[in-house]
Amino acid sequence: MGDARRSTSFFTEQHLSYADILPPLQVRARIEVAVLNFLKVLNSPAPAISNLPTIKRKASNSRVNQGLLTDVSWIFLSHAFCTKSLTRENTAKSFIRVWKVMEMCYEILVLEKRVTQRELFYKLLCASPDYFASQLQVNQTIQDVVALLRCSRFSLGIMASSRGAVAGRLLLQEPNEETVDCTTCGSSGYAISGDLDLLEKLVMKTDAHYIFVIEKHAIFQRLAEDRVFNQIPCILITAKGYPDIATRFFLHRMSQAFPEMPILGLVDWNPAGLAILCTFKYGSIGMGLEAFRYACNIKWLGLRKDDLEIIPEESLIQLKPRDMQIAKSLTSSEILQDNYKEELAVMVESRRKAEIEALYFHGYDFLGKYLAKKIVQAHYI
């Protein structure tokens, strides 16, 4: 059954744009091919300067794909090309920037090193001061290279930060290393490495029944300190805010290793919390080409509008303009399922939001009880 699922999704992927995680030699090969193709056209009987096809990373080019046999949906960017041409004035410089970044990444891969995005900015600033003026330009150009070469940012040699943490009933083993038991990792948990190669090789074992994805570090720390995984057999994971690739990758691996285990999200009741949940669920448009590989079927456990009954009025906070902005972009992205849209509508109409900490009104141990009750009632959407 699993194989049938996998092969069906393979066919639907054929026309999608996606980026692979590749070893350095393959990335170098792709760069060499790009250069050779360019030179071939330049040296042909009808010489021309090739255009660079990159993928438009805008909401208008994104769609949500519903899995046919799986419950997983994800964002993908279709082949809406936005060509960069040396001959057109407004794209000439960005055309050159793409080549410059490819050159720099190639050099770094040859050295078998990695760089941070900031270091890359400074190197490009010094090597090509006329073309690079800001970190933002560098970041955008990197995404263009990702689109062009169809390989992930990490494969290009750019370091990812380690933001996420995991705790609970999970045994992790790196090849030839000691097994790490995540129940003994203290209240800060096991730090999820930014090295995707390493994460790929981790062997995971568990006897948990649930995976809780937690938005905020403080809540993760509280649950880990209270050892909630001893009362409810579970794994806790957090990205400490907006999820990074490494945490999403780790969660994705867990969902594949333990396909029957429900993944439940605990976020603040506000547009930002819902946006974070959706990023785990569908991926993000800005990283559209890499996103879909790490989408998971995560369900919304809390906080939800029904929980407002147990939260005192004074704990509700006014929505700020930024919250309204996020709400607007969520609605317009058309990825929300109906019950999520309802929740968002209540937030916007009441102009209120609530943090998970508001539950502490009922005492410190209330959070564990809240989770247990929700699970028993299977009260997640």
């Binding site: 770094i108 050295l111 090193k113 990695r114 760089v115 941070t116 900031r118 270091e119 900015f121 400074y122 190197k123 600033l125 010094c126 001061p129 370091m159 930060s161 380690s162 943490a165 003994t184 990792c185 203290g186 209240s187 800060s188 948990g189 730090a191 490495s193 930014g194 570090h217 403080a218 720390q221 509280r222 300190e225 400490k240 005192p312 009025e313 004074e314 704990s315 943090e355 900490e357 508001a358 539950l359 502490y360 009104f361 410190y364």
Partner: protein, 361 residues
């Protein structure tokens, strides 16, 4: 020893708490207003003559709260409310954050800031540190290197993998059995520099412990550093960007922050030395012109404000010289500017030669 004297253990604090409440009840039962003295602390001022009293850790003023003024009455009510929660935390041996405390009685507190102030006042009144009240926050810092220690039931053994990052533990008072074969401790401002050192396997070739606070260091990072320095007696070097924020972070490590001035004694690190990046390093290490970014007017204002702090005259005049150079040159640069020509320059040359050549302040 970590934390203030033994009189900060939970039982002692609970006793002090009871005594404090008892005295208030006594006053009220005799129809007098309680008079609460809250000492004011600061760890620097703008007196550059060098004659100020900031060098002493005693209080620099006092606030007197009585029930005669309504705002004081409210402040006292909040303080007592928070004190009740703290008592619960201590009795149940639980920990909470300032935010958690706010949410327990949001209708009474109405704002996070009043809770924050109440906690500071309680620390001053009971003469203890914030963590003694079991009020903690999330742990932000990272550590790697030749270090082994245990925290409660968990053993952090970085010795097998000196280049793997670990989170700095939340409950620093539970850190025990510290073993290290390092020669020094390196504190870096930014996570990206920490990552660079890890990627270069810095700790494999240099026997050191590397710590980052990921920006402005939180309480745990500063306390952890202090424990390491006190127990291991190792020199500590600080590597920050050559810009006003870098200096502010350096001074936070060295002198403590104004916000936590009442607890400076336990959190400052007088042993920490400034390894770099000095404004004079720009020329010395041939930092390319394009990497020298112009200082904005806010940068100038901030640098001048930092320079006006009294400890620059009294304690670290040599830092003052470099900061003035920064103002004069009008440019700032980040640590990454040093890696432009060679990614491994920082770990293979800059840091080791600076430490060996004792070119730190």
């Amino acid at each position: 020893m970590e934390g203030k004297r033994e009189s900060s253990g939970p039982n002692h604090l609970l006793q002090k708490l009871r005594d404090f409440t008892h005295s208030i009840v006594e006053d009220l039962s005799h129809s007098r207003s309680p008079v609460i003295y809250i000492h004011r602390f600061r760890n620097y001022c703008t007196d550059i003559s060098g004659n100020c009293y900031c060098i002493h850790d005693s209080f620099k003023g006092v606030e007197i709260l009585t029930l005669q003024r309504e705002c004081h009455a409210r402040r006292l009510a909040i303080l007592l409310r928070v004190l009740l929660i703290v008592q619960q935390l201590l009795q149940e041996n639980r920990h909470g954050s300032k935010r958690d405390i706010y949410y327990m009685h949001p209708s009474v507190f109405r704002e996070q800031s009043v809770v924050d102030r109440a906690i500071n006042d309680i620390c001053i009144l009971l003469q203890c540190s914030r963590h003694n009240l079991n009020v903690v926050s999330v742990a932000k810092g990272l550590v790697m290197g030749w270090l082994r220690f245990s925290e409660a039931d968990r053993i952090f053994n970085c010795l097998n993998h000196p280049d793997t990052a670990h989170s700095i533990p939340v409950h620093v008072e539970e850190v025990k059995d510290i073993i290290s074969v390092a020669d020094y401790i390196l504190v870096v401002e930014k996570e990206s520099v920490f990552q660079r050192l890890a990627n270069d396997c810095f700790c494999k070739t240099n026997r050191s412990i590397v710590i980052t606070g990921r920006g402005y260091p939180d309480i745990q990072t500063r306390r952890f550093l202090r424990v390491l320095i006190e127990q291991l007696h190792l020199p500590a070097y600080c590597l920050v960007d050559c810009d006003p924020y870098g200096f502010d972070i350096l001074t936070t490590y060295r002198f403590g922050s104004m916000q936590m001035a009442y607890d400076t004694k336990t959190m400052r690190l007088p042993e920490i030395q400034w390894l770099g990046v000095f404004p004079s390093d720009a020329e010395k290490y041939s930092v390319p012109q394009q990497c020298l970014l112009p200082m904005t007017s806010e940068d100038r204002i901030k640098t001048e404000a930092i320079l006006n702090r009294c400890y620059f005259q009294r304690v670290v005049p040599e830092w003052r010289v470099e900061l003035q150079l920064l103002l004069q040159s009008g440019v700032k640069f980040e640590i990454e500017a040093l890696s432009v020509h060679s990614l491994t320059f920082l770990s293979k040359e800059y840091i080791p030669t600076k430490i060996q050549g004792r070119s730190f302040m």
